[in-house]
Structures are given as structure tokens and as C-alpha cells.
């Protein structure tokens, strides 16, 4: 206490120590508890979405399987790999920050940012694909293609939806108002034949005992809605993470961190790993579950 009564100029302040703390240990403990509490609220935030997913998947498993099958497991798998590698580079960043190695820190942060950007790039490719195929669940956000007047007869030869084979929709993509489109309901037929349908599905896909393509489409649309909200919020967290990384890169370059003070690096790392873990759950739920119905 007595030191504080002398002139402030001579009081030793550890780098980065905020005024409200007595010492560095107290500050580090505070920041760490704060970060974990923040991640706890993030879990609850995504938890609401996972609950919605759970409810609708158990109600309409076939619609979810159909939607899931349309997602490209290759891109999803690649992104999983990319994120796991980025977690490694992030963990190494923290390691080298603890060692006080500035150059390795800078290199690894740039690598982490690179992998993060690759992830977002792949996500953009996937979203564009949805846009081109008319499966963005919001009317007006899909590619608009006016009906070709010359081949108007093409619309006449409409088959029942359960005979539309995989990939056939693409050739005749017509979407004058940019609506969500879904023509293939072969899975419903399959499930009906094998008595798979849940009680919600028996009401939800049928009109007067016949498979109703529109009603099935609405359920697939719920899948894609959840897909976009979940991956979209995840991507938003990735973008925030990249912002954090940019700041980290700058401060690491300025030799802000040392073996004594590397809390911001460690905390950013925690956040980055958390965002990765969310994806580890999203990938199987969205891309993989339900594939066995078809393959």
C-alpha cells in the first residue's frame, strides 16, 4: 500500500495490468473465468438451434434425410479437416506465445487465418450452389430463371415427385420468382414401402392418402432453413474469429506478448477452438445423418 503514496511514476506496473486488479494473477483468473462464462452462454445460444433441429428431425426424418443428401459431404468433410488443422495451428500459436517466440507466433496466426478463410471460401461455394439450385429457403433469394417460352411443353410432362430421379431437376431449372424448389420425394415412397414413416410424417407428407409434393417440400425447406441459420451463425462466429486473429497478428507483430503475458492469445485460442467444436457437431448433424436411407 505504501508504494501508492509515493509518486505514481515510480510504481512498477506489469505490462497489461488493468487498474482494478491488484496483481497479474488476479487479472488472468478474471479474464479466464469471464471467457469460460462467455463460452457457456454461447453453448446455450447454439443449444436453442440444436433443440429446434432435434424436434424437427425426429418429426420429419425423411425430409431431413432428403435435404441432408443434397448437401455435399465432400465439401463438408474438407471443411472439417481444414478447421481441425486450424485448431492445431491455433494451439501452436499459444504454445509459441508462452515461449515468447514472436516470429513463430506471427507465422502460425497467419496460417490460422488462412485456414479460416479457406473454410469461409468453401462455405461461399456451397451457398452459391444452393442459390443456383433454388434451395435457399427464402423466396426471392434464389436464382431467378424465367420459363423458356419455346419449351413450354416441358412443363406438361410432369411426373409424380417420387419418380424424379436424383439430379434430374438441374437440367430443367425454372424458377421465375426465386422460390424454394424441391421436386424429389422418392425417399417418402421408399419409407412408405418399408413402413418407416413417423406419425407426423403420415400427416405431414400426404393429402388424401397421396404423396403431396408441396407438403413434402415445406418440410425439406425447414431443414434448409435450419441449415442456413446454423451454418450462417457459425460462419458469423468465424468472421468474428478472423477479426480477433487480425488484431492478434498486429499485437504479436508489435511484440506485445511475452512468456509473462500472453493471456489475449490464450483467450482468442479458446474462442477459436469453441467455434471449431460447434462445427464438429454441425457437420454430422447436417451432412451425414440420414445418408444411410439412400446409400
Amino acid at each position: 500500500m505504501s508504494t501508492h503514496e509515493t509518486s505514481d511514476k515510480f510504481v512498477y506496473h506489469e505490462p497489461g495490468l488493468q487498474h482494478q486488479f491488484e496483481d497479474m494473477g488476479q487479472q488472468e483468473e478474471s479474464v479466464s473465468i469471464g471467457m469460460w462464462a462467455f463460452l457457456a452462454q454461447e453453448i446455450m445460444f447454439f443449444g436453442g438451434l440444436f433443440t429446434a433441429y432435434l424436434v424437427f428431425r425426429s418429426k420429419y426424418p425423411m425430409a431431413f434425410a432428403a435435404g441432408s443428401n443434397h448437401l455435399n459431404a465432400f465439401w463438408g468433410g474438407l471443411n472439417t479437416l481444414v478447421l481441425i488443422v486450424s485448431s492445431l495451428t491455433m494451439a501452436l500459436t499459444v504454445y509459441y506465445a508462452q515461449k515468447g517466440n514472436r516470429n513463430m507466433q506471427v507465422i502460425l496466426i497467419m496460417l490460422t487465418m488462412f485456414f479460416g478463410s479457406v473454410f469461409l471460401g468453401v462455405k461461399a461455394i456451397e451457398y452459391t450452389d444452393k442459390y443456383n439450385h433454388g434451395i435457399v429457403p427464402v423466396t426471392g433469394l434464389n436464382k431467378v430463371v424465367k420459363a423458356d417460352t419455346k419449351s413450354e411443353h416441358a412443363e406438361v410432362k410432369e411426373k409424380p415427385c417420387y419418380e424424379v430421379s436424383h439430379g434430374e431437376e438441374e437440367e430443367e431449372y425454372v424458377n421465375p420468382r426465386g422460390e424454394f424448389q424441391w421436386k424429389d420425394c422418392s425417399l417418402v415412397k421408399l419409407a412408405q414401402d418399408h413402413n418407416y414413416l413417423t406419425s407426423a410424417e403420415k400427416i405431414g407428407y400426404f393429402s388424401n392418402g397421396e404423396i403431396d409434393a408441396d407438403k413434402f417440400r415445406d418440410k425439406v425447406r425447414i431443414f434448409f432453413f435450419l441449415y442456413f441459420v446454423m451454418t450462417g451463425l457459425h460462419a458469423l462466429h468465424m468472421i468474428v474469429g478472423l477479426g480477433l486473429m487480425t488484431w492478434l497478428l498486429w499485437t504479436a507483430w508489435k511484440k506485445y506478448y511475452s512468456a509473462d503475458y500472453y493471456m489475449p492469445v490464450e483467450m482468442s485460442g479458446l474462442y477459436w477452438h469453441f467455434v471449431d467444436i460447434v462445427w464438429i457437431f454441425l457437420f454430422p448433424l447436417l451432412y451425414l445423418l440420414g445418408r444411410h436411407f439412400m446409400h
Binding site: 478474471s30 462464462a37 433443440t51
Partner: protein, 558 residues
Amino acid sequence: MQTQDAITPGYAMRPKLNYLNNGTTLKSWLLTKDHKRIAIMYLITVSLFFMMGGLYAATIRLELLTPASDLLETGTYNKVFTQHGILMIFFFLIPSIPAVLGNFLIPIMIGAKDLALPRINLLSLYIYWLAGGMALWALMQGGVDTGWTFYTPYSTTFSNSYVMAVGLAIFINGFSSILTGLNFIVTIHTMRAPGMTWFRLPLFVWAHYAVSLVMVLGTPVIAITTLLLAIERISHVGIFDPSIGGDPILFQHLFWFYSHPAVYIMILPGMGVISELISSFSRKKIFGYEFVAFSSIAIAVFGFLVWGHHLFVSGQSMYAGMVFSFLTMVVAVPSAIKMFNWAATLYKGSISFDTPMLYGIGFMGLFLIGGLTGLFLGAIGLTVHLTDTYFVVAHFHYVMVGGQVIAYLGGIHYWWPKMTGKMYSEFWGKISAMLVFVGFNLTFFPQFLLGYQGMPRRYAAYPEEFQVLNIFSTAGASVLGIGLVMPVIYLGHSLIFGKDAGDNPWLLPGLEWRTTSPPPTENFAVMPVVTWEAYEYGEESGLDVEAAKRRLAVEAAT
């Protein structure tokens, strides 16, 4: 440890500047990191929202004076009660005690210079202002008419009001309360002064720890729910719309998963204040400290498991209903533990009826009624009759107003001398406390009877046989209104003309009474070391109260 003078424990080191006059520019307020200044800015803002919500309440009561819907059109009436609910719940009750009293007192009570994350604290205030501004904008544009619960599919498909703007305002506001809760958790963990062990913490701090858990874990769920609601409203995807496969009950589950715990956000801090008041003004160590402390945590935990009691008649399965009904009874136990412990604390205490204590005693009576009628509503059979009647309205107003608002007023009166350094008029304080108590009961007790007779809530018109009780209720509301306006006047008056309160006007041992009034920016001239237990009124506390009392008696005589 040497005994200090109980009247002016901080006097020897009285600093020239306190937190109020340390910097007088607008910038020094808007960019402050001082938890006390942030608390004062919260105090002003929540008071404004309380006033607006109160005006809506007055309009409702005026409309209900007569059976016909003659003052307002029914559509306008829907907007009025919706906006009353939204302003009062999200912008007044939830931030009221935590963001004002909690913010101001927690660091002082645990012997810290500030909250652990002062910039986050300021950020949470700005988020609150942003959300509040957005809500006000939406209200001026035409408002919202869905009820504060935003039930789907009305809110997503049919309502022609500003659902999305208000929903987003609530989404944003949620982050303010998450950050406040997060800050409290961190602060209570790491910023306690030497010797301030967990079981020496004032119960006010324990209550805030519990409420922070709910804020951090519950609020994100309402955030994602209102976000889904807003997206659904623009995109019409059908996640909540049954006509295209959505599930409106899912909305109710998600909504109440937060909003039931949120009623504990709106009562736990009040309980914390009452623990302080009851002990302080009976000058007796609180009875069963550990039980009161852990009952707060138990309420926070069990509060997360009972949301289904809002869905008894919404198509929830009967078995789920039975489980939720049972759990609702269980969650009443920790509240009852608190009530019994407060009552036992009063027993053989030397009780003084200062203004804050009047609120404290009032709380005990009103919360008792509010809590017990909650059991009526949690009982799966009886609730079928009472759902969506005025019985529900009366029940939650007994808890929210009779509980939280009364505790908030009690707390404001109790800590006013600490916050401002001035003492208000005790005479007018008592009058106002009485008016609030009488007016409140006159307003809401008739509503229990009305509800039991079957008057539904949320209608502008009602059958004539309900009019007598409604007139009582409106009359009570005007008394309540006068009682609530009076503190604004005499507290404001005390700021300029009030006599100096001194550091420790009630001669109490808590840490907040051992610094100067108003406290300096860093809270204590010398950082305290705690050697006494909580609520220690004897010599062990290190304050010589008896000598102080004798001296005050001599001063009064001469």
C-alpha cells in the same frame, strides 16, 4: 484489529473527491469505467422506462374502469398492454436491481475497486441504451400487439405490428444482461478482498451470483428464439407456422425456457435486498445464513426445470405436465426457506421501522401471497380453470411488483445515503411506503377475485358484473401511482436540500458502510481486510456501535 468509530469509519481518510464530483464533464460520465457512475446512469434510464411502463398501466386501468371498451379501440388496447409488459419486463424489471444496486454495491460489498471487467460493464450499458432506443422507435412507429410473450403463429404470420423491430430490440437487450451477469460472476469469484471468504459475503451478493447464472445461461436462449422469430417473420419459412409444418409449441418451449428463469431474474435480486434489510433493521445476524445463500442457488438451478408449467393447456403431453407440476412445487421450497429464515431473523430482533424496513416487511407479506398463488397455478388441475384469467395477472404482479419493485424501492431508500451522501425526509418516505403498500393491494387483490370468477386477461371489455372489483382496482392504481411518484420528489429534493447522511447512518457493519458517502472512485481509501463474519453486530465487527449510539443520543439532547 482496532475498533473504528461506527459513525464515520472512513472519516480519518476522507478523500477530497468522491465518485460524483471526480470529473464533471459529460464525457467523464459517458466514457467512465466506474461501476458507480454506470449504476447511476442505469438508475436514471430504468426510472424513465418504469415511468413509461407506468403510464401504459394507468391507461389500462382507466380503460377497465367501465365494462365497454370506450377509451381505447380494442386493437390499441392490445398494443397498450403489450408495450406495458415489454417495457416493464425487459427494460425495467430485469435490469432494475442487478444493474443499478448490484452494479453499485457488489464491488464495494466485497471490498474491490471496481467490477472485474469495467469496459464490459460500460458496453452492457450502451447495449441497453441501443436496445431501449430501438424499442422506443418501434413503439413510436406504431408499436406491437402480440402480448409480451410473442406467441406464434400470431406474431409470425398474422400481426400487422412492429414485431420484428421489437423482437430485435429484445435480442440486443439480452446481451446487455448476459454481460452484466458474466461480469458479476467473474467479480464475485476473483475480486473479493483478503479475508472476504464465500461465507462472509453479504446475501445480496449470493443472490446476485445466482441471478447471474440465470442471466448467462438463460438469456442466450431467448436471444436465439427472438432471432428465429424475426427471420421467420421476414422469410415465412414455417419453423413456427403450423400451416406449413412448423411447430408453434416449440416457440413456447424455447420462450419459456428463458422466461420462466427470467421471473427469477426478476425476484432473486429482490430477495437479496430483503435479506440485507431484514437483518439490518432487526440488528440481528441473519438466521440460517448458509440456507438463505444456497436457496438462491437452488432457485436458479430448479428454475431451469419448470418452464413447462406455462404449457399445461397448450398441447403438452399430460405426463410432461405432471412432471412440470411436481417440479414447480419443488421450486417453491427454497423460496419458502428464505421466508422462514427472514421470519426467524425478525424473532427477538430489535426492530426499527425506518422507511427501508417498511418496504422489507411489505415484501414479506406480498411475496407470501404471490408465491402461494403461484402454487395454485402450478397445480395441474386447478390451473385449467385459472389459465389466462386475471388470477394469473394478480399472481405475477404480486411477485414482480410486490416482490421486485418493493425490494427495489426498499433498496434505493436503504442505500440512498450511501449513493448520494444525503438523507431524505423520513416522514415522506414512510408515507410513500404506506401508500405503495395500500395502493398495491387495492389494485391487485381484487384481480385475484376477478380471475377466480373467470374474467379473462387481455380484453378491453368485460361483462358488467365485474365492474365493482375493477373500480376498486383502478382506484388502487391511482393510490399506487401517487405512492410511486412521491419518492421522485422527496429523493430529488434531498439531493439539494437533504442533510448530510454521514458514512454510516444506520450504524451497520457491512463493508459498504465503512467507506465514505458518497464513496471515492476507487471505493476505499485503504483496501479493506475482512476479519468479521457477515451481519456481525457485536464488537467482533470492529465497529464500536454502542459508543456511537451514546454519542448520537448526547448530540440529539443538546
